[in-house]
Symmetry: C2
Subunit: 761 residues, 2 copies
């Protein structure tokens, strides 16, 4: 690996120019001739039965070309997403419903020649509701007398998750102290720049082409095929470019079904693009989770037991709820050892809130906020330094990971040590405080680990096809779409590195189900790890073919040849050799030598780790928390594209700051209406809100299953920043916050409370 | 082969519904946002030097977005087409030229916001020409004092073709009679329904996408890449549907270069679509050829020697001229034996006519018109029946083919015998003549052979990739575009047959250079033979993978399994087995088993044969020839899709009737202007002009290299009909026509001449 020339560098992103020049086409940019605009009529009740629905006026409106209600669409329950773990596939959602379960649930749809007419037509659909009782709090929803959403026991999506290792009672008995706490998180929304959108078109032969902003093109193909009753080879899903997904776009949405059905009904292409409001309420937020966490610890700082109750509010439909509860419960078994005495109960609960779904961090954000906050509390109780306490219990070589796999290397400790060094952790309290007495400065640390891929829930598999062109350039076909993360660039780097080609000789085609091999999708920090692994293998096979061909032409054995900069060299005599274009081109104008390779890559799991060190200033007069600087140390195995990794880390920190301090989709508990579903009212951190960030990438524990040792890094950066900030706030003002987001109101209220208790400011 | 269930049947064409419903998109149907319309300014002189060209007024016209003259485009000579035979690649054409060589040569181009503005702008380009001397007749062009078009000796495109076998003098010495004749053919035009067209678009990253009506997507990619200096992986050529090509669209055209350059210059997509006039003069016609043919024959009808002079008028540029002259000279060495005493000289001559190029039959149409007409003459001279005389000399088992390969089977004799039986050949003169005395009825026979693929000129190779979808459907990726011939349907049949799948489970994607493997193109009767062979092999490999997987699941050896109707069966116990969808689907919602196979197929050559029997009625008062019926017997090895084969045969007969009786693009020998470049003046046979046709498909000589034994059939049907009609006309009125087309004027003139000579009507 010493001789890497392209992996580990940051070439220009392959889609960079297309994006900055505006030529990149997103799902809503395919303005096909005869295009109609589709809109969904959404329930104004959080729980109701539709008594009657009258579309006469809407249908009569000039320009309206199709109207569908829940009565006109196949009543096939589907899972918004596949949850491959056994029993995890909960098909509880209809395309359009006659019994809406949240404010925003789709009940009807129209297609019209303009968006305005479509909107007007929605208003002309007359709906008579019979309101039904609602429940918004998951704890209340589990009560016997709570209204039932899906006729499941206790409104649980699935039977409770239970994970048990060792002997929890004995573990607590061994402890000198037992610490308990309740930690809860808000309902932030991914708020991707590109709202959910798709454009559907049936050709004369009944073949559906759908341009969709989805992380999982093949999954959209599969579910649409089933629900619309079209074979797979007559459904083509195309994802040319995407403006973010963050997990929420790994589900299928009502608009994708509805758009296809409207297109079929109208006999014309239909486009649907969510408004920002729809994106907030009709898409998926993060699950608000309450973690009851109880740990036992010895005086010397050794954790002896951990018990968890993880209650997740999945909203009106299951989506990824069950998986997220599993992952949350699994994650808490690791990161810090607990004498292997572990007990977790997880509950994924239906409520009449908008749907929560997959979101960067997938259950781990909530879990590690609880664990890492409590780790800080325990360190303080024990009088130990929080970093030292963490180091004492940090998982490492030979410890069990959440999935049960044994870890190799001491990546977490390395992150903690490197970060502590970088921020002068042990001298942090010698730094001066701000001059203004109402501004308090503090430092905190947060940590996390995350799996690359979803093994064992999903047996990870990706595929790649690679074609050599006759001028020595290469076309690479991969099924994983690029959400905007730079995945295509990383894929091109991996192929170029393996093949010994200049980077710009690789062209990646992705996100087109007709032409690329199957891929389950871009999520779970799997793209580079699993998808990149398939590219690595396919490129190796192509290289083998090239060397075999070169060996015959150069009269040398393939083993005695290498490829560098697009040229095959005889190792023993580098003057001998030939350009790849020369090698594959047809002689005398003949057809070129056609070289094509495909590979299936199956991966298990790898774990990336991070420690974030955050410095905050709390304004005790306004309650405002300002994050001043973050040092983020990530162990990633191998950074294929270091700037890409940095970008993920910085983006994750930004998103994590939002979740920690400001972002929360507030639902009115009387009506079920979202109260801040707009960028005016829903506050995301902007550039001016960002701290100075230093990212430090460690490559101390490369994974043998990842390309060049690479592990995933997409989700990690959002997970450690929350506890780091919360712990820094405690460091600054001595208040422990266990409920996210930590808004100024909460800070001020806590300070007033503290003042009352202690009589001091 | 006894158990074929899909090959040999005629399922619904895979593109049929898309075409009849109008949803199929052709090259000019991609109306991209911001689209401009491109037009070419064409020379009004057949040979001139441009003294000055002023585009000021054109550029000033509102709506004009780009103007290019020959001075603004790269002066890279290119071959309109690749002619892979050594020395056959003649790069003699410029993108736009300052020294036009025919009326219609491109000298400048514009792109504007409407077609009308573009047309108007062309008129505003001021060109001052210095006329240069012209030559239109190839014999004159070969004279020492003729004007030179390309500074080649005698205006020859290449040194003369010379083919020599045996001892020609000895062959003639052995003969009892020597027969000589001169046979010449006209300048018919393919006149495909879809005029030449393309749409070009550069994305922000400089990647060119071109939707083109081309038979050779990868060739267009290759040549555009070179001339525009863009690497191959940044040029994407897409051919979704085509409205015919017939060989003429296997060249690159000025409009394809110009369109790309205009798009680059304007920074907007540009579409160019030839008018019908442009299609006639700016595209490629068939080569007018004069064949001097001399044969020796013994009294018993044994041919002893054949000598050929083949002079081909290639027009202003080489295009496929050299290849066509080669094939014409090669073809005449076979079909009928000549004691292996053969001598041919071929001349491909530049003149100031519009360019002639590849066209269904590729040199053989002209050759076999000469040979088969003379065969008839000799039979009459010897007093032998024309079929018996042909049977005596017909090539068969062990004889040399034009390419030198030895033939297997007696396919020609089989065609002759089957046709003679069908039409009651030996009793034909007992049939009553028409009641009207001025209508004369006669029967004639014509024969031909044609190679599938262009081996050895081209080392034939095709590629296919085949993907199994998780519902048991299959997506097949092939590089060959479907010109409208039904190739995709045949490919799907081959794959379905090999895989044991119902036909409608296969979806073919073709004609997209980014996503399919390389293919040289759809021409030379190679598509089913070579391309289908690649599909056959790829499907076999996929089947192997499926059976291997099934063997593991069913606990049986792969050899003990078979697949029928989409289901794997244990041969010994058909109750055991599973559906393919079951076999490949992921268990418990997991990713499916991804199966993908690719294959490269290299083929040599196969020969198909045909005998056409035509009955005509000649009206001696009007000179009109009416073809009453045709019996066409074709030996094709294996008819993958019998209706498709019939369609090719019927279409070839229609086109051949046109060439024989009416079609000829007439060029004024004073000005070089085409006089009938419109469908008003250029007469193609319409439905009402068509005879009753009976097609008989023989499968007596399957080729081991072709899928299921199939050989090509695209070109054959146009080759035997010409001599069959000419010989029938002789049978009807006793006049031998040796110059095509046989127009009413020629018939009347010949009848008057005959009357003068014999004093009788």
């Amino acid at each position: 690996m010493a001789n890497l020339t392209i992996v580990g560098t940051t070439p220009r992103k392959v889609d960079g120019v297309a994006k900055v020049t505006g030529s990149a086409k997103y799902a809503a940019d395919f303005n096909l001739p005869g295009l109609l605009y589709g809109k969904i009529k959404r329930s104004s009740h959080a729980h109701a039965r539709i008594v009657s629905i009258d579309t006469t006026a809407a249908e009569a409106l000039p320009g309206v070309k199709a109207v569908l209600t829940f009565r006109d669409v196949p009543a096939i329950p589907h899972a918004g997403a596949p949850a491959p773990r056994e029993g995890g596939l909960v098909a509880d959602q209809l395309i359009l419903t006659g019994q809406p379960l949240f404010v925003g649930d789709g009940i009807a749809a129209v297609a019209a020649i303009t968006e305005e007419i479509a909107d007007e037509a929605l208003g002309l659909i007359n709906v008579e509701y019979e309101p039904l009782p609602t429940v918004f709090d998951p704890v209340l929803a589990m009560q016997p007398d709570a209204p039932r959403l899906h006729q499941t026991e206790q409104n649980l999506v699935m039977p409770p998750v239970h994970i048990q290792h060792g002997n929890i009672e004995q573990g607590f008995a061994e402890a000198d102290y037992i610490i308990e706490g309740v930690y809860s998180t808000g309902r932030p929304h991914p708020a991707y720049m590109e709202p959910n959108a798709c454009t559907c078109h049936f050709d004369g032969d009944g073949k559906l082409t759908i341009y969709s902003s989805t992380q999982c093109a093949f999954m959209v193909r599969g579910i649409l095929s089933q629900v619309l009753d079209i074979p797979l080879h007559k459904v083509r899903v195309i994802v040319e470019h995407m403006g973010g997904g963050f997990g929420a776009k790994q589900d299928l949405y009502q608009h994708e079904f509805v758009c296809a059905l409207l297109a079929r009904r109208a006999g014309r292409p239909v486009k649907m693009e969510y408004t920002r409001y729809e994106s907030f309420v009709g898409s998926k937020s993060r699950h608000p989770v309450t973690v009851n966490l109880k740990q036992g610890v010895k005086k010397d700082g050794t954790l002896t037991a951990r018990q968890v109750k993880y209650v997740s509010n999945t909203g009106a439909y299951a989506s990824h709820g069950p998986g997220i509860t599993w992952v949350g419960c699994e994650d808490l078994s690791s990161l810090y050892r607990c004498g292997n005495n572990y007990w977790a109960d997880g509950y994924s609960v239906y409520t009449n809130n908008p749907i929560a779904g997959a979101f960067r961090g997938f259950g781990g954000v909530q879990a590690f906020f609880a664990l890492d906050t409590q780790m800080d509390e325990i360190a303080h109780r024990l009088g130990m330094d929080p970093v030292d306490f963490r180091l004492k219990n940090a998982v490492g070589e030979g410890d069990a990971s959440p999935s049960g796999h044994l870890l190799n290397g001491d990546a977490l400790a390395a992150c903690l040590r490197r970060g502590a060094e970088e921020v002068d952790w042990y001298g942090r309290h010698n730094h001066p405080q701000p001059a203004e007495p109402h501004r308090k400065r503090g430092w905190g640390v947060g940590t996390e680990m995350h799996s690359s891929g979803a093994f064992p829930a999903i047996r990870e598999q990706s595929n790649a096809v690679i074609k050599m062109n006759e001028d020595g350039t290469v076309t690479l076909l991969v099924g994983i779409a690029d959400l905007g993360t730079g995945a295509q660039t990383a894929m091109a780097q991996i192929a170029a590195e393996v093949l010994g080609l200049p980077f710009d000789r690789i062209r990646v085609i992705s996100g087109d189900t007709d032409v690329t091999p199957f891929d389950i999708g871009a999520y779970g920090s799997r793209t580079t790890f699993v998808g990149g692994g398939a590219v690595f293998k396919a490129a190796q096979e192509l290289k083998r073919q090239l060397l075999e061909l070169a060996a015959a032409k150069l009269g040398a054995s393939a083993a005695a040849l290498s490829i560098r900069a697009g040229r095959v060299f005889v190792d023993a005599d580098p003057r001998q050799g030939m350009a790849l274009a020369e090698l594959v081109k047809g002689e005398g104008g003949q057809s070129p030598r056609t070289l094509i390779a495909s590979a299936t890559h199956e991966a298990e799991v790898a774990y990336s780790f991070a420690a974030h060190f955050a410095e905050v200033e709390v304004d005790t007069e306004t309650g405002q928390i300002e994050v001043k600087q973050v040092v983020a140390v990530h162990e990633v195995g191998r950074a294929i594209n270091p700037k890409g990794v940095e970008g993920q880390i910085e983006g994750g920190i930004q998103q994590g700051i939002g979740h920690t301090l400001t972002e929360d989709l507030v639902v009115d508990p009387r009506t079920g209406r979202a109260l801040n579903a707009s960028f005016v009212d829903y506050k995301m951190p902007l550039a001016m809100d960002m701290p100075r960030i230093k990212t430090i990438i460690l490559e101390v524990s490369p994974d043998i299953g990842g390309p060049f040792g690479a592990k995933g890094v997409g989700e990690d950066p959002i997970m450690a920043i929350g506890p780091a900030i919360a712990n820094a706030v405690h460091d600054a003002i001595g208040v422990r916050f266990t409920e996210l987001p930590i808004t100024p109101e909460k800070v001020l209220r806590a300070l007033r409370q503290k003042e009352k208790m202690t009589g001091s400011k």
